[in-house]
Symmetry: C2
Subunit: 456 residues, 2 copies
Amino acid sequence: MENILKYINDNREEFVDELKEFLRIPSISTNPDNKKDVRKCAEYVKAQLEKIGLENINIYDTPGHPVVYGEWLKAGVDKPTILIYGHYDVQPVDPLELWTDPPFEPTVRDGNIFARGSADDKGQVFIHMKSIESHLKNTNKLPVNIKFIIEGEEEIGSVNLDNFIEKNKDLLKCDYVVVSDTAMFDHDVPSICYGLRGLAYMQVEVTGPNRDLHSGSFGGAVNNPINALSHIICKLKDDKGKILIDGFYDDVLNLTDKERLEYSKLPFDEKKYMEGLEINEVFGEEGYSTLERASGRPTLDCNGIWGGFQGEGAKTVLPSKAAAKISMRLVPNQEPEKIEKLFTDFVKKISPDSVKVTVKSLHGGKGAITPIDSPGVNAAVEAMKKGFGKSPVFTREGGSIPVVNTFQTLLNAPTILLGFGLPDENAHSPDEHLNLNNFHNGILSIAHYFNELSKI
Amino acid sequence: MENILKYINDNREEFVDELKEFLRIPSISTNPDNKKDVRKCAEYVKAQLEKIGLENINIYDTPGHPVVYGEWLKAGVDKPTILIYGHYDVQPVDPLELWTDPPFEPTVRDGNIFARGSADDKGQVFIHMKSIESHLKNTNKLPVNIKFIIEGEEEIGSVNLDNFIEKNKDLLKCDYVVVSDTAMFDHDVPSICYGLRGLAYMQVEVTGPNRDLHSGSFGGAVNNPINALSHIICKLKDDKGKILIDGFYDDVLNLTDKERLEYSKLPFDEKKYMEGLEINEVFGEEGYSTLERASGRPTLDCNGIWGGFQGEGAKTVLPSKAAAKISMRLVPNQEPEKIEKLFTDFVKKISPDSVKVTVKSLHGGKGAITPIDSPGVNAAVEAMKKGFGKSPVFTREGGSIPVVNTFQTLLNAPTILLGFGLPDENAHSPDEHLNLNNFHNGILSIAHYFNELSKI
């Protein structure tokens, strides 16, 4: 590793200069005017993959923007195969006037590189490229088998990626997926995200009388669908945030003592959290901390509700209909389809006969987890320790990342999220930037990671 | 009375012909193009009041359409003074193509007179005019003191009437108000409406975090304002329709045994009622019938609710705000201001500290009742018996009639609603009509009513 690390340290400035080239290409995937730029960026990525020494490099066209692929599979069948995922497309730049420097003219200030795409995700893709280069340039080999897939539609919902993965399951077959497209927990806190929540998103519609009624003439004698819907929602979760749906918690993979210990170590300031949201109290399932509640435990939220008169003033209507969107964040091993059924059955059970209630599922996805004592995670810990000079923290994300779900479903591969951005680097806002220390330590960490993974 | 009744019977056809003249004037108050017609109609009413023998007749201008007033106060101070209220303006006629005959060309078919305004309210105003005429023409006097006020803005919310009444409190001072602007309970069921519900209309707004959040990142740790609002609404009324607000029922004037007996006599078909609304069950406070629940008991209804994402599909938002419009129908002797305070206090009490809740009052009005064993009502019973040849039923309206509230508040006078329309006479629709038997029996009843009231 010595030569490799020396190479990374010697080229610290050079790598930043090279990154600038990548950042200069305005690969805004959502803007039709930039279609050629996105293509140009794919060609740039292809050239980079060639330059760093990958093989079997290809630009795969899709109905939208292309996917670039490269691999190096000569480590041997006894070594793990790692699929690295990233994206080369970027967010739009509006409002342009809020940028200190033009978004596609990369500038270094105060140890950060400013440009659209610096943190999300070109800088992080470049970390992997330069780690691979550092190995291949110095040793002519990689300690593990590498597959590298970089797409051009992440910022528009990865609309063609699922289809691409489905079609190329064999090409993408791997033992672990590594994604660097998220942020570290905080400044100077290297982080390994090992879990994501799933989702079951439902719509509940309540119909009372067949038409809107005068609340004076009928109020008191005919059930009101808004009141009935409120009663249903109220019965889904108690005043303390515990979900009351029969069987809801049955399959929940409970947090282990080790996980809870890791949660407790996270540098989290609850007072600041509350101040930032201007709330007087946090709220949630008893017996769990705020961070555990927000990512390690399942929950139920109304995402929308509507019915009756929403205008100014008073209209005395007893409406015919009311509806709500209600979603549940799931944790491993809750199955969305099973939860959807439990939800539907429970809502039907608690609905009064005086109204008609329909329930439908709008969207669902599984949670994901890579156990923190699994070999892939242990290797990441060792790598981050060496790359950053300190132990990483373990985090779980409360939301879902659709591509991780796809990897899990189609490739049956666990994903480890090694983010080198920071929460305040304006990923989707003006003056997006990436801390160059994290960029450098990221390259070191990933170079070490390949090495650590080879020991598995 | 003999001469008077003979006069009414002899002029049965003549009165209908005279009514046609009134109905030919297109006094649509909401349409600026008809402003002159509305004025012309006020002039017509004035001329009629002169013709039937009232005195001190005046057209009072308002910022909108005028109010017409006339009186006959020579019955003596020992006799009661009755204020009769009605309106000479009418609803628009659209859709015109659904009328069998033009709306302002009155036509008699199958014992009904068809024209816009026939039931609402020119025909019913005419009943009072012809009753007064019948007395004064035959006896040169009325058994009671009469004040007659006919406004031209009822169909646009009586926007200037409150101010007129406020300014003319002495002019309008009376012992009873009689309003004929409602419908009988059913065909062949003469009805006395002796009570109305009041209203306290509130808006509840719940604020959680200071901005919309990602439900994945924050769900489970931050209270959701839609869920919190649903919990609040759920705690206002139990599953059986009983209101749980502390002190809510304290001032409720309970239904008397006599009232409940009268309710039970009403020809009401609950199966048909449910079929008409397409509901499987009626719903409401235990221990009361559907009609009692809908008019004799207070209730609480959500009139509107909104928050979060209401569009198609799934958006994983934990919204910052949610709000609902919640109104309570009140019965005598509940005071709207007191109920508003009880509601506000209770909502504050049950609101969790994890959200901010504001409550405001949008509108309120007292209920009204004229006890069914009061002299004014007893006199109406006797009069209706004689006019229709059968005993009237007693009804209470579930809604409020704002002008009744005004009479109660400003004149401190109880109101009796003697409606001679029918529920299916298309008051605000094409082919509005009035049954001519009810028109005739109405004139007889009111002529008797003056007489019966003089015996109080």
